[in-house]
């Protein structure tokens, strides 16, 4: 099977949609990667046509928690004095389909609720005095308009059984199909009973192994998909072709490694299938001991899967990278967060406590007080004696919680170029401190020379202190890069824990020659530096390597890669230039 032509790609998307329509909840959902446009519109219209239940909800980007989960209907509750519950979007979607727009930007919290509903088919609520479990089984259509490298959070995509990519299609490729809803209903009634024979399940398990897919959830979802595809064809038993199509729709994009097909031209392999079956049995593959006999359809299945691995992913797999699922808003190193619950209280505002902000009781009572006489006169006789508070009186505490950023300069003070580099680094520190005077940002400086690295300036906002610490700084000697990276990692961890965002700026040519224990030796020094860099990378924190040597050094680039950071060659590193680079690097996130 070759990287499919446009119209067959559309047919595949259509088949995936048909399967989804048959059993939205069982498949979790469908991840639609496509910019908005006529093709996507057509696809969504089709989804609407094929939908078997009448329930369809749309979740906008910033849906509030109280709308998603439901909550107390405050106005009613206060007016009647009895609890009135309004059900949330997710519970209302039970049995139907939820469309998530701009899925790549949805807040972590919304995703978390969606995921727990997808897992359990129900929602357990612990809100506002009500604890109950409500059914919420639905399928998700996640519309992903992400650019290259941007995608919905893996927690969500992991749970969506299907993926279609409409990005490269034009409206002319979208041919009409012969699937109708009678077809779908028929499949809906019968898919659960479709038989999966042992060879097929084995082939599925072997495929996940070969593609390096470790999520049992993916296997289970694919097994369901196989049954649904068979049911759509009117069969009561799944066959190899179902497996092949299911793998293409549900597994190809999850690959984390390329199976042991002859490497450089997998596409060509796919085009003209090799006659010999031994090709996957290369001795160095660790998996092969566990799959002594490869079931006949496996080769074809894996080839089909490879042909449908998204191009970007395929390229990075070829280079032997583990794809790093970077989600746009996951993790904890968001630069700025507006907190409703945390930070410095900065006064109160009129607001709704259901949105997660904290009710400020005193302010609320104060707001209600002037109205009491008036309201008591209007209140029914049995409530005369009570405090009359209306939703408009609610006051919530405002918090300001800004993530500070801390710029960490790590300066190579070894060798001859040291004096120049140090002078410019000092200049950059001063410039940064000067213009962040009004912000809550701080700067730190580590210098490494001789046999160890030293923290010369702990994170500070004080310009005076910085000048004093940097005044006398000798240079020269060896390059203990490993120790410097280690110290940077430690300090970054500490900064993260304090709730700030560190940016490490390395000023070095990346040539290490002093090992961690202070002994000279290039090879060991370099290895240790790289190992230390890997640990830094695990922090997932920003790093910049500025290469200030007259000619760009390969080693500095390697260091940047190992740190998971950016590399910049700046033969004439000057203070102002560095400040600008750091500023722009911090602005990216």
């Amino acid at each position: 099977m070759m990287p499919s032509s446009a119209s067959s790609q559309w047919a595949l998307a259509e088949a995936a949609l048909a399967a989804f329509s048959v059993a939205p909840h069982a498949l979790g959902g469908i991840w639609v990667r496509s910019p908005p446009g006529p093709v996507r519109t057509l696809f969504l219209e089709l989804a609407e046509d094929w939908q078997l239940s009448t329930i369809a909800k749309r979740i906008p980007l910033h849906a509030q928690e109280s709308r998603l989960l439901g909550g107390i209907e405050l106005t009613q509750t206060l007016a009647t004095g009895k609890l009135h519950w309004e059900s949330g979007l997710l519970a209302q979607s039970h049995g139907g389909v939820v469309t998530l727009t701009m899925a790549e930007r949805v807040q972590r919290q919304t995703i978390a609720h969606l995921c727990s509903a997808l897992d359990a088919g129900s929602l357990t609520l612990a809100r506002e005095g009500l604890s109950q479990t409500v059914p919420a089984a639905f399928g998700v259509i996640a519309l992903d308009e992400g650019l290259e490298g941007e995608q919905p959070q893996t927690a969500l995509t992991e749970r969506l059984g299907l993926r279609v990519d409409l990005g490269s299609l034009s409206i002319h490729d979208a041919l009409s199909s012969d699937i109708d809803s009678a077809n779908l209903r028929n499949a809906q009634a019968r898919w659960a009973a479709v038989a999966l024979d042992d060879a097929l399940v084995e082939a599925l398990a072997a495929t996940t192994l070969a593609l390096g897919i470790d999520s049992p959830r993916a296997m289970v979802l694919t097994a369901r998909l196989i049954k649904i595809l068979a049911a759509l064809e009117g069969r009561s038993e799944a066959i190899d072709a179902d497996l092949e199509r299911a793998v293409v729709m549900a597994l190809a994009h999850r690959s984390t490694r390329l199976p042991e097909l002859p490497p450089e031209n997998a596409d060509e392999e796919a085009r003209e299938p090799e006659p010999q079956d031994e090709q996957t049995e290369e001795p160095e593959s660790p998996d092969n001991q566990e799959q002594p006999e490869i079931t006949p359809p496996l080769d074809a299945v894996i080839e089909a899967a490879i042909a449908h691995i998204p191009p970007g992913l395929l390229a990075s797999l070829r280079q032997g990278h583990q794809p790093r699922g970077k989600s746009s808003s996951g993790g904890k190193s968001g630069t700025q967060q507006r907190h409703k619950q945390r930070g410095r209280p900065v006064g109160t505002e009129a607001g709704d406590p259901r949105k997660g902000s904290r009710l400020n009781l005193m302010a609320t009572l104060r707001a209600a007080a002037p109205w009491q006489t008036l309201r008591r006169q209007q209140a029914p006789a049995d409530r005369q004696g009570q405090l009359q508070i209306k939703p408009s009186d609610f006051r919530t505490t405002r918090f300001r919680h800004r993530r500070e950023s801390t710029t960490l300069f790590v300066v190579d003070a070894s060798g001859s170029a040291a004096m120049h580099r140090m002078a410019e680094a000092k200049g950059a520190v001063e410039l940064l401190l000067a213009d962040c005077y009004s912000r809550r940002d701080s700067v730190a400086l580590i210098a490494f020379r001789g046999d160890k690295a030293e923290l010369l300036l702990p994170p500070t906002r004080s310009l005076v202190r910085a000048k004093k610490a940097l005044a006398a700084l000798p240079g020269g000697g060896g390059t203990p890069l490993a120790h410097a990276v280690e110290l940077t990692t430690l300090l970054s961890e500490q900064i993260l824990r304090d709730g700030a965002t560190p940016t490490a700026v390395f000023l070095t040519d990346g040539v290490a020659n002093i090992a961690r224990d202070g002994t000279p030796g290039r090879q060991r020094a370099k290895e240790e530096a790289m190992t230390a860099a890997k640990h830094f990378r695990a922090l997932n924190s920003r790093a910049l390597v500025i290469d200030a040597s007259p000619r760009a050094q390969q080693k500095a680039r390697e260091l940047a890669d190992a740190l998971g950071g950016q590399y910049l060659a700046m033969p004439q590193a000057d203070a102002a230039g560095m400040r600008n680079i750091v500023r722009s690097a911090e602005a990216v996130n």
Binding site: R108, A112, S116, T124, T133, M219, E290, L359, R497
Partner: protein, 342 residues
């Protein structure tokens, strides 16, 4: 609502199952941290465990699951205020397994002023939070490494002291909150704060089996369960109730397990050689070992018990050596081997 997938039907993942069983036998062992890839059945296992847990007696209508058999000192304020002489009504409930969902707010976790009653009746009443409900049971946090820092702060304090102290919105409440913290997460999402890591007694890494046969088994079992959950659960009922009895008996027996000196020495020298900080490692080793012995219906703990639980007890307590590429597990294995030899 579909019944949860049976605990005993979970394919492979022996470590995770054992750690959860040990925590169910001796809740004093501390929490269980389960880290691993997505979809490896971490949540499934915990929901399944909930169905296996025995019932405990509680004071009727007590929001904090107070234990009627305990001295009043450990009770919540409302149970203490009732006349000491009057016998309390008791009832039995299953050991609670409370979910702390991601995005939970501080007021829902630690409890807060009951707004409705404050406004309507003018009463200053406390609405207990998740910590109150988890008292004497399990508190489960999925994606524990993504938990907001201020929630972690609240948890750390309560987990250490066993008591929740609420001072907010004009309320001043304290109530007991002793629970087993169960956290799960994906290591790629981020690190755990060291203080939080320290609260977990046991830690296990889960990974998907790397052989076709187990994977086939996973797909098959799941498919059978989905096709007909009721009859699937019926098939496993005997194993499930055997497992439940095993937990119940072990809970009774664990206090009677005796600890010979040589085992104490073994545990101490193991910790010494691995250089773990503090005594907590040794104490947890012994508790977990005793729970394991009780699960195996033995009344004396042996060095082998310690050996089996050592990885899950000590894995997260080792000093991180940034230049030792071999993980904690292999260090523990190395030390265990060298102790065997000597």
């Amino acid at each position: 609502m579909a019944a949860p997938y049976p605990f005993t039907a979970i394919v492979a993942q022996q470590d995770m199952k054992l750690a959860l069983l040990i925590a169910a036998v001796d809740q004093g062992v501390g929490g269980v941290l389960i880290m691993g890839d997505r979809g490896t059945g971490k949540s499934t296992a915990i929901r399944a465990l909930a169905a296996l847990l025995p019932k405990i007696p509680v004071v009727a209508n007590c929001a904090y699951n107070c234990d009627p058999e305990r001295a009043t000192a450990g009770h919540c304020q409302s149970c203490q205020q009732e006349k000491a002489g009057s016998p309390k009504k008791t009832t039995t409930v299953s050991i609670p397994v409370v979910d702390l969902p991601l995005g939970a707010t501080e007021d829902r976790v630690i409890g807060a002023l009951d707004i409705e009653r404050a406004l309507h009746a003018g009463e200053k009443a406390f609405e207990p939070g998740l910590l109150a409900r988890a008292h004497r049971g399990f508190l489960y946090i999925d994606e524990v490494n993504l938990l907001e820092d201020h929630i972690v702060d609240a948890l750390l304090d309560v987990a250490a002291s066993g008591e929740n102290v609420v001072e907010r919105e004009g309320l001043s409440i304290r109530h007991p909150a002793r629970f087993v913290l169960v956290g799960s997460g994906n290591p790629e999402e981020g690190e755990l704060r060291p203080q939080l890591l320290d609260r977990f007694g046991l830690s296990v890494d889960v990974a998907t089996p790397q052989d076709v046969a187990s994977r086939v088994e996973i797909i098959r079992q799941r498919d059978r369960y989905e096709q007909d959950p009721d009859s699937f659960i019926k098939q496993w009922r005997r194993k499930e109730s055997a497992q439940r009895r095993r937990i119940e008996q072990a809970r009774l027996q664990v206090a009677l397990v005796s600890t010979p000196d040589e085992v104490l020495e073994f545990a101490a020298s193991l910790c010494l050689q691995l250089g773990t900080d503090g005594l907590r490692g040794e104490l947890t080793l012994l508790r977990a070992g005793r729970a394991l012995a009780a699960l195996n219906k033995k009344d004396i703990i042996t060095c082998d018990d310690i050996r089996s639980v050592a990885p899950m007890v000590l894995r997260h307590r080792l000093r991180r050596d940034p230049l030792d590429e071999s993980g904690s597990d292999s260090r523990i294995a190395r030390v265990l081997e060298s102790m065997e030899a000597s």
